[in-house]
């Protein structure tokens, strides 16, 4: 008997009495101003939220960020924001190691926990979300949901693919519970909420 058959057999022998699967609707929290809640939580977890009227404002807004000012190599997947690197032309993700600042799109944002949903759709190397020194995510302001339950209604996986909630910059508290921003991933996270 294979290990697979043995495990499944042992599990079947020991199955408890069946119990119903609960539905997922509930009295989940909502906010009078989800964008304000998102910004407040993002600030609390070490990120920065910037509200802009339209995408045309992005270059000027970026230019004001100290992390952006000190960046040598930037990568942008947002039209209108200059990029030093053409991600589609990069064959080996290891070549992205020296990206200082990446400006990428987030699909939607969650007010309760300041998470932004990102995927690898149209992003040749998913590692850019994690390998860059600083990250900015651009999210339309009308795509903020209250809570994760609303969030998962917007997520589906029909085929292979990668998606992640990113909430704030990379961090660790593994040395005596002292919070340090910038563990392995981006040392800063800026989320631009675009109104237009």
């Amino acid at each position: 008997m294979t290990s697979r058959a043995e495990i499944l057999d042992a599990v079947r022998r020991h199955l408890p009495q069946s119990s119903p699967l609960p539905d997922l609707t509930g009295p989940w929290i909502t906010y009078p101003d989800p964008a304000a809640q998102f910004a407040a939580v993002l600030e609390m977890i070490g990120g920065r939220c910037v509200r802009v009227a339209n995408e045309a404002e992005l270059p000027a807004q970026l230019a004001q960020l100290p992390e952006f000012q000190s960046s040598q190599r930037t990568l942008s997947l947002v039209p209108g924001v200059a990029s030093h690197v053409d991600l589609e032309a990069v064959a080996d993700p290891h070549d992205l190691e020296d990206i200082d600042f990446a400006i990428l799109r987030g699909e939607f944002a969650v007010a309760e926990n300041a998470a932004v949903w990102v995927t690898d759709a149209g992003v040749r190397h998913r590692v850019v979300y994690f390998l860059c020194q600083h990250l900015a995510l651009v999210v339309p302001a009308d795509r903020i949901v209250n809570n994760l339950a609303e969030g998962y209604r917007r997520i589906g996986f029909g085929g292979p693919g990668f998606g992640a909630f990113i909430a704030g910059p990379s961090k660790t508290a593994d040395i005596e519970q002292s919070l340090v921003i910038g563990a392995h991933g981006p040392k800063s996270l800026t989320v631009f909420l675009v109104e237009g």
């Binding site: 495990i7 119990s19 190691e97 992640a164 909430a167 660790t172 040395i175 519970q177 392995h184």
Partner: protein, 483 residues
């Protein structure tokens, strides 16, 4: 008081204790930890800080209790359909292009992982935190076969450099002081001697571990949740180490226990709301990554491990321990864990949940763990998936007694306690003798090695009369008054 004094003197009688166990008993290992009083207090405070953060953030959600209810119900359902959900998960994972492996034992798991590494001629591997691979002792196994494994979670890497196991499942290095980490990094990374500044130390680790990420040929991760409906799985980190580890190399090996399953993708809307808040008081972990199939042009292997889990499933008393999502909240709140340290448990998963899981694996070796508990019930109160932890710990105590795994000292103590408490005459007489005799005894006869209870405590002064005597005289008095 007299009864407990008798019990205590029996419990510590050394000649009556059978020490046939392979690991040491929890009171002995805990004694070493508390021997350093200031450090024990520091450890206690560090964990209580995390527990307080958890309370604050849980209180911001009015639906907190509802979330716990749903999570428990989803897990209960999952366990009742585990076989078909595992098959569904496998089917969908394969459809997405993953390879699915099954391992009954840690040895099988390790062989599978080694086989994949050999196939790719890999010698450098990065691994994000995975309690399953700790349970299987994967690191030493791979090292013996010439493979360099680097744990990339900072806490996990620190304990790896110190050549010791993690002491906590979420904060593996919670027992280590920054001075010690400074010294460790000075030795291994050449940081400034005497440096203790956490940002400085983290930056040094970041620099070194980036080299490991870039140089690795294969990335290994654990799994927080595996989704039957889609065949994908979720890995949660704060550092981003799992994502870096499996987005640069082409090969990803994900190792998981078979209880990590959830039926639907949207069930995550319950579990991810509970996990980060319960674990560290964060609204969500920084990265909650959903992997569905391999990287384009890459390879994904999923190893499903049983290692006794199917056995626990068959036990009505203990199967709910399989609900565990490894948040660590029960450890942070446990008065015994906080004051005895994770290593005192000598198991991969310490604390209340570990004291249930370990005896399920080997009741004889771990028979002292269910007693490392004051039955305060705080663990059950904070558990996000509503495991009845303290009830299970109590049930384990009974089970250990039934299987005659109790040391003689405890058996004798319980025997005499049963006799005394079972006879009102004996109980009253013992109390009377105790109240009269104890104050007259010289100190050395009361506080000695046969009374471990009195080692750190003073007995209260003996009352002149027992509760029953006082009650009887009160009743007489009030009877008189009413007439």
């Amino acid at each position: 008081m007299t009864v407990s004094a008798i019990l205590n003197s029996l419990t510590c009688y050394p000649f009556l204790t059978m020490t046939t166990t392979l690991v040491r008993e929890h009171p002995d290992t805990a004694a070493e930890f508390v021997a350093n009083d200031s450090r024990a207090h520091w450890h206690d405070q560090a964990l209580w800080f995390v527990r307080a953060k958890r309370d604050r953030i849980a209180a911001t959600l009015p639906e907190w209790e509802e979330l716990r209810e749903r999570a428990a119900a989803i897990k209960l359902h999952t366990m009742s359909r585990l076989a078909e959900l595992l098959e569904q998960f496998e089917r969908n994972a394969i459809r997405l292009g993953a390879n699915v492996h099954w391992a009954r034992t840690p040895a099988e798991h390790n062989d599978i992982v080694l086989g994949i590494l050999r196939q790719h001629k890999a010698t450098r591997v990065v691994k994000s935190k995975s309690m399953l691979t700790e349970e299987c002792h994967l690191n030493p196994f791979l090292e013996r076969h010439g493979i360099t494994v680097t744990d990339t979670d900072l806490g996990e890497w620190i304990v790896q450099l110190r050549d010791e196991p993690p002491s906590h499942i979420v904060m593996p290095a919670i027992h280590i002081k920054k001075e010690e980490i400074g010294e460790l990094f000075h030795h291994h990374l050449g940081t400034e001697p005497g440096a203790t500044d956490p940002p400085y130390l983290v930056t040094a680790a970041r620099r070194r571990l980036r080299e490991e990420f870039v140089g690795a040929q294969v990335g290994i991760t654990g799994v927080n949740f595996a989704i039957a409906e889609t065949g994908g799985f979720v890995v949660c980190t704060n550092e981003g180490n799992a994502d870096l580890g499996v987005s640069l190399p082409k090969v990803h090996i994900a190792c998981m226990g078979i209880e990590k399953l959830i039926p639907r993708l949207a069930d995550l809307s319950i579990f991810l709301r509970l996990l980060g808040r319960s674990a560290t008081g964060q609204p969500i972990t920084t990265y909650s990554s959903h992997f569905h199939g391999p990287l384009p042009g890459g390879e994904l292997h999923i190893v499903l491990v049983d290692n006794g889990r199917s056995e626990i499933l068959g036990s009505p008393e203990f199967r709910r321990s399989l609900n565990c999502i490894r948040c660590g909240a029960c450890m942070n709140t446990c008065p015994v864990y906080r004051r005895s340290g994770g290593h005192s448990y000598q198991t991969t998963v310490p604390g209340p949940i570990g004291s249930i899981l370990a005896p399920s694996r080997d009741a004889k070796i771990y028979s002292s763990l269910p007693f490392a508990c004051s039955l305060c019930g705080s663990c059950s109160d904070v558990c996000p998936v509503k495991i009845d932890l303290h009830t299970q710990l109590l049930t384990w105590r009974k089970e250990i007694a039934v299987r005659r795994l109790l040391p003689w000292s405890k058996r004798l103590g319980v025997y005499f306690a049963g006799k005394v408490l079972g006879s009102p005459w004996l109980f009253t007489t013992a109390g009377r003798i105790g109240r009269w005799l104890l104050p007259k005894l010289p100190r050395s006869l009361v506080y000695n090695r046969f009374n471990p209870w009195g080692r750190q405590r003073e007995l209260p002064p003996m009352p002149p009369r027992s509760f029953r005597e006082q009650y009887a005289s009160r009743t007489r008095g009030s009877d008189k008054g009413s007439r």
